[in-house]
């Protein structure tokens, strides 16, 4: 029931959202729901750290036949981070999103995304994963267009169409795979593919389709276009939510899929994964440097950071996977928070154009500190979480004798730093241009500060407690590297 709760609690809010309760109740309920989700996630990670894996079979149908929800250490880790991010997003939304949007089901869609993300992290079944992708896609499309401002719609349409292609490839791949293998359960699939021997190459076309689906979701090179085209258009807190969660689900799926299915043919897949990861890293920072918009700069960076995770997967060693997982988690915190700060700046200054911004450091040291923690964390400066992540990845790269890729990863860091410093200098240090006025934010902003503070604190904590967390990630990576364990657990053999 713990696992089912990750879907059930947000669903409850969605149900309630259809009835006209006063907005105040809905706000409280939204908080309670994310709170419950967080408690559930903490509970799960506590259990998981003792037993390793948990599963539930809705409908009591045995494993390969019914749908199985499985959580291993990786899932639990990501679920917990999602839950924390969700709490801060809701807190931030309470004070930053305007009333008409809140009344028109804003939180419903937000919880739609959370269901989708949660569901994806625990889906043990390929088609079920697809369903959660759909939930996420629908909810995110609505949030992106929610409010119907012109640029929003433009971004939303691009987002929707390019993501629908992802869904199309994904579901086509699933269909083909099912046609050949007769099963959808990931563990069962892995098991059956391992018995195929050389014949498994005939699965490649369908696997390519699925992987492309994931790559589009994860905004990997060369499928990232939808992300920079759309992430800067919605309400800032929504971009924060997207930046924190959406692409990460694609990458999570890729990791899951790779470690269960693709690794059977890793001689073929590995170079691709490494190549795509490396190019994504470079392209991301490169394109980000050219931007002069707070959010756009951050958007392009997502591509680069996703690349880091993917090279960690590509190294396919214990420490590499552990580093990738850690990096994924770190990035969810740090990235979301930089967007939240952007949201605050937008509310305060009415623009996100770097040229017209300035003086934020003078006006609000608190927000400046919140930003700089996350920004420096993204740039990989010690002792913040980003350093631990990057350190682990590069170290594992050296150990895996991928010296060149490690070097690329290392020096992509300096360009990330450059972008972050650019934002810092332009937005926070620079005196503001004549004639650009700033607004005092109506009402108090304590919830917004709390929201951002939680995430910044997480970046710091993940840095300081790097060793235990990396140890946890290493255990998770060990599970990933020995899929037999997962298969045995799911199939009960």
């Amino acid at each position: 029931m713990i696992l089912f709760g990750f879907i059930f609690f947000p669903l409850l809010y969605i149900i309630v959202g259809f009835f006209p309760f006063p907005l105040k109740w809905k706000k409280v309920l939204a908080l309670l729901t994310v709170g419950g989700n967080l408690v559930n996630a903490v509970n799960l990670i506590y259990k998981i750290s003792h037993v390793g894996m948990i599963k539930v079979s809705p409908g009591s149908w045995p494993a390969p036949f019914g749908i199985t929800l499985v959580a291993d250490r990786m899932s639990a880790f990501l679920l917990l981070i999602t839950a924390i991010v969700a709490v801060s997003i809701v807190l931030f939304s309470l004070q930053s999103v305007d009333r008409p949007r809140l009344e028109r089901g804003y939180f419903q869609f937000l919880f739609g995304i959370i269901i989708g993300v949660n569901g994806s992290f625990i889906a043990g079944d390929l088609f079920n994963l697809y369903v959660w992708f759909e939930v996420m896609l629908m909810a995110s499309f609505i949030l992106m267009s929610h409010g119907g401002e012109q640029p929003q719609l433009e971004g939303a349409i691009k987002y929707l169409i390019l993501n629908l292609i992802s869904s199309f490839f994904f579901v086509a791949g699933i269909g083909l795979l099912y046609g050949k293998m007769g099963t959808l359960n990931l563990a069962d699939l892995s098991n059956k593919i391992s018995q195929l021997g050389d014949a498994k190459v005939i699965l490649n076309p369908s696997l390519v389709l699925i992987v492309v689906g994931f790559a589009i979701k994860g905004a990997l090179f060369p499928f990232f276009f939808w992300l920079p085209a759309s992430y800067h258009t919605p309400v800032p807190v929504v971009s924060a939510l997207f930046a924190g969660l959406l692409t990460k689900v694609g990458i999570y799926s890729l990791i899951r899929f790779y470690t269960l299915i693709l690794y059977h043919n890793s001689a073929f897949w590995n170079p691709w994964i490494l190549g795509v990861g490396t190019v994504s890293m470079v392209i991301g920072v490169f394109t980000a440097s050219s931007q002069f918009d707070f959010r756009k700069k951050l958007s392009f960076h997502i591509i680069s950071q996703v690349g880091y995770v993917v090279i960690g997967l590509g190294f396919f060693t214990l420490s590499g996977l552990a580093g990738a997982l850690f990096f994924l988690g770190h990035n969810m915190f740090a990235k979301t928070n930089t967007y939240l700060v952007a949201g605050w700046v937008h509310k305060r200054k009415g623009t996100l154009d770097l040229k017209n911004l300035g003086d934020v450091f003078k006006e609000s040291p608190v927000w400046s500190v919140l930003f700089i923690i996350s920004a420096f964390s993204l740039a990989g400066l010690p002792p913040l979480s980003g350093f631990i992540g990057k350190y682990s990845l590069i170290k594992s790269g050296i150990e895996a004798h991928h010296l060149f890729i490690s070097l690329v990863a290392l020096f992509v860091g300096i360009f990330t730093l450059f972008s972050m410093l650019k934002i810092w200098i332009e937005v926070f240090w620079k005196p503001v241009k004549e004639g650009v006025k700033s607004f005092t934010i109506a009402g108090d902003e304590r919830l917004m500060v709390t929201a951002s503070g939680i995430l910044a604190l997480m970046s710091v904590l993940m840095g300081i407690f790097g060793v235990p967390i990396i140890d946890y990630c290493t255990e998770a990576a060990a599970d990933l590297l020995s899929p037999e364990k997962y298969i045995r657990f799911v199939l009960n053999v």
């Binding site: 969605i14 259809f18 409908g59 019914g66 929800l69 305007d98 949007r101 028109r104 089901g105 419903q108 869609f109 269901i115 079920n128 759909e134 909810a139 609505i142 267009s145 929610h146 409010g147 691009k158 390019l162 083909l176 099912y178 050949k180 293998m181 007769g182 359960n185 190459v201 005939i202 490649n204 076309p205 492309v212 589009i216 060369p222 499928f223 085209a229 392209i283 490169f286 394109t287 440097s289 009415g350 400066l381 010690p382 002792p383 631990i388 590069i394 170290k395 050296i398 290392l410 020096f411 300096i414 730093l417 450059f418 410093l421 200098i425 240090w429 620079k430 005196p431 060793v467 990396i470």
Partner: protein, 775 residues
């Protein structure tokens, strides 16, 4: 006692965080109050320094680790304590000084917080026994340096300099990290005490050149070696206490410290002995020469700092016991006089409002005791007896003669540089302080600053140390043995003295001073020519070059970004489809040998007719110029698919397909009149291209389906559904049982999608937020 050290270091963090609160209570006295911390560190180091045995080192295990094997373990040996002494000692004086200097600045609490953090990071860096921890602190000092250089963030110059300094030192930091990781990969440990005897292993490894390269890059960037030296003069935009502390006495020496630290296990190779002296000499000479062309007191000092750093790198590179000894002594010498001179420069700036040496003059009397301190410090800088600087210089000459490679060139360069140093010392002192000049200078003097105790305390104490240690060099000489033992792994008696009799070194010294005096006499000409040379050099003015590089990079990036993220939706689609299709098609053919042969069954005639109709309908939809007709045609395709379902016995699916198709058409018809007039946006060529792409994508899907020839490894799970639908799930309609029971969770997800879609459509229709009015 020693065990407490790591905790004390971490507690600096807490103190730093509390500083803004302290500042609210104590106001400008914060600095004085805070100086208790470095003072106690100083006394503690003094105690350790004097009580440490000749070959003894203390290692305190880490209290915590940030990463595995990267704990903050502390190492107390001659080297770390010597650096610790300088960092904490000058720290005390700088805090005193800053209290007065920063008095009128806004955000003093923030300033002292950064300073405290920096102190903690710097102490951590010199004290740690772990290379990873060393890197972490190294990077932290860069961060705080960035924030401090940009302290006056309303000035564009300060912002620019901060960015430059940080990018360069952070680049070096990353190099250091990579080098450290490579070392760790080879040696299996990051603990310095364990690495000490693994030199053989590392230096003979094939990756040694790489390690060396990265470490040297780290050193060169941090310690402002040519060609990375240019960030340091820019860093002078920081408030003067920062320049005095970070950019002369402590942080910039980190590179030298690193060289000395890793020397036992990285040094003593051909690369080491040739590259370091080479770049060290170039830096030494360039710094000294360029200093002559500057007019700003702080910039002059910055260039002499670069020169001094060059000397230290050179000495570390020569890598003999003598040179290491010289490097250590010179580190102390330089820290003492340069710290003092910077503080004096700041004091002059405050007193007179300018730092331009041409506008200053005859400050000897107004500044009183400080002038005397300045005199001593300049003497030390010039390397004249009886200052400690003299001893340092003597040692340096001695060491240079020992250089393994091109010792002659080094020596010549060294003498030239030192002549320049002597010249510039005299020159600046004459310009600024000399009381007997023909033309009376009119300099406005703010007596309040001139007599400020807090401002003059630091330079006076430092000058006193320069003098005192010069007169009684034995005091420190005795304790350098330990440091040298851990760098060179040799026990040597270090005896320092002012007088070694008449020997080659003394003669060189005399020549140097003579040359320096000549330079001083011809100062006008020299300064003019160097300034002209400087002007010529400004074409390659590195900060601007760096700026330009960045600007061009951004330009190229934005051009390329426009090419990559061009905003044309159709090209994104094309990219997606073409790449995917090609990937799939390649795989289809690559593996055609392995896959079993295709066995096509004859197609049923009614299906064939159906497909032909559907194909026509689809074609019609594409070419029709009427929207309604296109929609109806698409409806035919949809119904056709429903029929296909029906033919293969999927009744539920067929019904659903029909119903959905109908609904979609109804909705289309509802909204169609609201759409803008049908228009053709694409050119003919692009449509032809699109045909091919569509055919490629469609062909790909078709081929995949055809070729997949559904072979089943085992019984598919659908068999289980068929067998158990009635007896276990109590339903005869398998489709429905799958939907609501076997895979009810999927349905759950799908109805959530539907529910959200409905809410979303309504929200989209109803919620029309125009551009917000309040903005």
């Amino acid at each position: 006692m020693h065990q407490l050290l790591p905790y004390l270091l971490t507690s600096l963090l807490v103190v730093g965080l509390a500083t803004p609160l302290l500042e609210k209570k104590l106001k400008y006295r914060t600095g004085v109050f805070l100086s208790v911390i470095p003072l106690s560190f100083f006394l503690y180091f003094l105690w350790v320094f004097t009580s440490l045995g000749k070959t003894e080192s203390l290692i305190i295990p880490p209290i915590m680790e940030l990463v595995r094997g990267g704990g903050l373990s502390v190492r107390l040996d001659g080297l770390s304590v010597l650096f610790g002494l300088m960092v904490s000692g000058i720290g005390v004086l700088v805090l005193f000084y800053a209290s007065a200097y920063m008095r009128k600045y806004p955000r003093q609490g923030y300033f002292f917080m950064l300073l405290t953090f920096f102190m903690g990071a710097m102490l951590g860096m010199v004290l740690t026994n772990n290379l990873i921890a060393l890197f972490i602190f190294w990077e932290l000092t860069s961060v705080f340096s960035f924030l401090l250089i940009g302290f006056d963030n309303h000035l564009e110059k300060a912002r620019k300099a901060a960015l430059q300094g940080f990018l360069i030192t952070a680049f070096g930091g990353l190099c250091l990290l990579f080098g450290v990781l490579l070392i760790g990969d080879i040696a299996g440990t990051y603990e310095i005490s364990e690495l000490l005897n693994k030199g053989e292993l590392i230096t003979s490894h094939t990756r040694y050149p790489l390690i060396f390269l990265f470490l040297v890059l780290a050193v060169f960037t941090k310690s402002a070696q040519f060609p990375f030296h240019f960030w340091l003069p820019g860093a002078m935009n920081a408030p003067t206490p920062v320049s005095a502390y970070l950019h002369s006495a402590t942080m910039v020496n980190a590179g030298v410290f690193l060289l000395l630290r890793v020397n036992p296990f990285i040094g003593d190779t051909l690369l080491w002995d040739s590259v370091l002296p080479l770049f060290g000499s170039i830096t030494m000479f360039t710094g000294a020469l360029l200093a002559f062309g500057e007019k700003d007191l702080k910039r002059i000092l910055a260039f002499t700092t670069i020169s001094a750093l060059g000397i230290m790198v050179l000495l570390a590179g020569i890598d003999t016991t003598k040179s290491i000894k010289a490097a250590l002594v010179f580190f102390v010498v330089h820290g003492l006089y340069k710290g003092a001179l910077f503080m004096i420069a700041g004091l002059i700036d405050k007193t007179t409002g300018t730092r331009d040496i041409d506008r200053l003059g005859q400050l000897w009397k107004p500044l009183g005791l400080v002038s005397f301190a300045a005199l001593l410090s300049f003497f030390s800088m010039a390397g004249l007896p009886p200052m400690l600087g003299f001893i340092g210089k003597e040692l340096i000459y001695g060491a240079k003669m020992q250089a393994a490679y091109f010792s002659n060139i080094i020596l010549v360069f060294g003498i030239l540089s030192n002549m320049l140093m002597v010249g510039i010392s005299f020159y600046v002192f004459y310009q600024v302080f000399w009381p007997y000049r023909r033309v009376k200078k009119k300099v406005a003097i703010d007596g309040h600053y001139a007599r400020s105790f807090l401002l003059s305390f630091g330079p006076v104490i430092l000058a006193a140390f320069s003098l005192g240690l010069g007169l009684a060099p034995v005091r420190i000489g005795k304790y350098l043995q330990n440091a040298i033992y851990f760098i060179r792994a040799e026990e040597v008696a270090v005896d320092l003295g002012l007088w070694h009799g008449v020997n080659a070194v003394l003669i060189l010294s005399i020549i140097t001073v003579g040359g320096g005096i000549l330079l001083f006499i011809f100062r006008k000409q020299v300064a003019f020519n160097v300034a002209r040379f400087n002007n010529w050099l400004n074409k390659f003015y590195l900060p601007d070059v760096f700026d330009k590089v960045i600007k061009n990079y951004v330009k190229v990036a934005s051009r390329q970004t426009d090419r990559i993220q061009h905003g044309y939706h159709r090209y994104y689609l094309i990219t997606f489809f073409v790449i995917t299709s090609l990937l799939v098609v390649v795989h289809l053919f690559a593996n055609s040998g392995i896959a079993p042969e295709l066995q096509l069954q004859p197609i049923k005639s009614y299906l064939l007719i159906l497909f032909i109709v559907m194909a026509f309908a689809a074609g019609y939809a594409i070419f029709s110029s009427s929207r309604i007709a296109a929609i109806l045609a698409l409806g035919i395709v949809g119904y056709g698919i429903g029929l296909v379902y029906l033919f293969f016995g999927a009744v539920d699916l067929a019904i659903t397909q029909f119903l959905v198709e109908t609904l979609v058409m109804v909705i289309f018809v509802l909204v169609i009149y609201k759409l803008p007039v049908f228009a053709v946006f694409s050119s003919k060529a692009s449509r032809v291209r699109d045909i091919f792409i569509a055919l490629l994508a469609g062909g790909m899907m078709g081929m995949v389906v055809l070729k997949s020839n559904f072979f089943n490894v085992e019984t598919p799970i659908s068999d289980y559904f068929i067998n158990n639908s009635l007896n276990l799930a109590h339903g005869k309609n398998i489709v429905n049982v799958i939907l609501v029971d076997f895979r009810a969770l999927d349905t759950m997800g799908e109805i959530t999608v539907l529910a959200l879609a409905a809410a979303g459509v309504v929200a989209l229709l109803r919620l029309n937020i125009k551009k917000r009015e309040n903005e």
